[in-house]
Amino acid sequence: MSSAPRQPAVALPLWQAGGTRMGFFTDSSVCIGCKACEVACKEWNGVPDLKPAWSGNSYDNTLRLGADSWRHVAFVERVRQDDAAGVRWLMSSDVCKHCTRAACLEVCPTGAIFRSEFGTVVVQDDVCNGCGYCVVACPFGVIERREDDGRAFKCTLCYDRLKVGEQPACAKACPTASIQFGPVEELREAARARLEQVRGQPGGEEARLYGADEGDGVGGFGAFFLLLDRPEVYGLPPRPEYRRRDVVTMWGAASVAAWLLVGGLAGALRWRR
């Protein structure tokens, strides 16, 4: 899928510019674990290499997403419940979800993280001062502070490539179309159709879409997945959540607590003899 995005005249928020939200549909049922996405991403974005080390976790030596790994192919080995001799091997290429309600963006105190005209979530590395709040806010543990650099890094959904009408490097490199790039609306339809197909096949009994629903805890992902097992099996949170409502109730609690503090003080002072 290589529908090139239109190039908007001005970088207005998506809903104002009338632009199209672009994203990924990662169909793990056809992932062959070649890691071409990891390599292409590193090459294009100049992401520093990881210190080579054998993890012992199947073919996965990247382990998780982070400042220096913006695509990560998970290799899940599971002994089948129904057949002791067989092993089920699941592969899936993980990436920043580019959430509709993005915690990293909402908590960023400098405004370094912004919503692009493509609906993606991007860090401006000339603004980020490395406060590290996004690192603990992300429900997926995606964004990370690079130790030697001090700033936070994550997938940009190849913002530079999108601006010139190219597709992201990982999607272009994927040989099985497991990583599909396009308008999120179209991808969601394709994903639903694909889910029907996979469900009917052996091994697809537990297949599900992850992050394709706008009603989920982060308002849906811009980069969503078809998984063949439960999310936590792939190292993904089962029900990720970020709600502004929670921030409001927390400030409510903090206000009451602040008044208690003042009340306690006033009491302690005024009742002095």
């Binding site: 105190p109 543990g141 990370e144 936070a152 099996v233 609690a253 003042v262």
Partner: protein
């Protein structure tokens, strides 16, 4: 062939796992903080300074000027140390001014940065006005501004921790502000006990006792609300710090209560109250590491 069972897998595992896998090789899902030691220390210095600024203006209103001035000066010291701690934690300290580049209401850190900036400015101006012999109204107004911002400064750090993906911080988000409020109140009382049993001795003792009661009650309520997510407050480093905090805090309150007229015991009680407040922030901070490192907390909390 390795079955994916996480690290709690027993040495002798059945050929066919009975339990379904709950994680990806036991690897964490959310991240532990990238922050350094300065951050929990700041939670303490900022919180204590915030409560002391409120003491300063309330003491002025109730005519306890000597106590008010002591409180204001210690608060000012806290307001000077705090930004230094925060800046040195940044990955790019030279860009600290970017904190005031925007005001983002959805970011507790943004609100906190502006609060701290305003707080320090107001306290500095109050001190300058006092030293320069300006009319009392000027000093009082500046003190008042700092006194309003102070309690926010004592609490917003709890909102900051609650507004993360960390299961234990997030799970306690409606209780942490009360814990931090109580602890700041107790620390402010402790500072004044340490400063000497001069004017306001009884008031500072009451601050320690009331603050400790609030903090302990809120912490207990938080733990019961957290259920299994409270485990990081009971085991490992988080547990050790939480226990040390509880003991120091209770001992401090008992000493200032029962220390009678002994200045030494009052001071010791005050020191324990101040120290326990610093320990509390460390305990909460460290518990967050444990909660992030074991994916079981997150998965369980989201399946409940």
């Amino acid at each position: 062939m390795a079955a994916v069972e996480g690290r709690e897998e027993p040495a002798e595992r059945p050929l066919v796992p009975r339990e379904r896998p709950r994680s990806y090789y036991g690897l964490p899902i959310v991240r532990r903080p990238a922050w350094t030691w300065e951050v929990p220390l700041y939670f303490f210095t900022g919180g204590t300074a915030g409560a002391l600024a409120a003491v300063s203006i309330l003491a002025r209103w109730s005519g306890q000027h000597r106590m008010g001035r002591t409180a204001r000066r210690v608060a000012l010291a806290g307001a000077l140390v705090s930004p230094a701690l925060l800046i040195s934690d940044l990955g790019r300290p030279a860009r600290f001014l970017n904190m005031l580049r925007v005001l983002r209401p959805t970011s507790p850190m943004s609100i906190g940065s502006w609060t701290l900036a305003g707080f320090g400015t107001a306290l500095g101006m109050a001190e300058a006005a006092d030293l320069a012999g300006f009319p009392v109204a000027v000093t009082g107004t500046m003190e008042g501004a700092a006194g309003i911002l102070g309690p926010i400064l004592a609490n917003y750090t709890a909102v900051l921790l609650g507004d993360t993906a960390n299961p234990t911080w997030r799970g306690g988000r409606h209780f942490l502000p009360f814990v931090f409020s109580g602890s700041s109140l107790s620390a402010a009382g402790g500072v004044l006990c340490l400063a000497g049993p001069g004017e306001g001795g009884a008031a500072s003792r009451r601050m320690v006792v009331v603050g400790t009661a609030l903090e302990q009650a809120a912490f207990l309520a938080m733990e019961s609300q957290l259920g299994p997510l409270a485990e990081p407050y009971r085991t490992g480093t988080g547990g050790r710090l939480a226990r040390a905090h509880r003991r120091a805090s209770m001992a401090g309150a008992l000493l200032v209560l029962g220390g009678g007229r002994s200045p030494l015991l009052q001071r010791l009680g005050g020191a324990l109250a101040v120290g326990s407040s610093a320990l509390l922030r460390q305990a909460v901070y460290r518990a967050g590491f444990q909660a992030a490192d074991d994916p079981a907390y997150l998965v369980e909390s989201q399946e409940r």
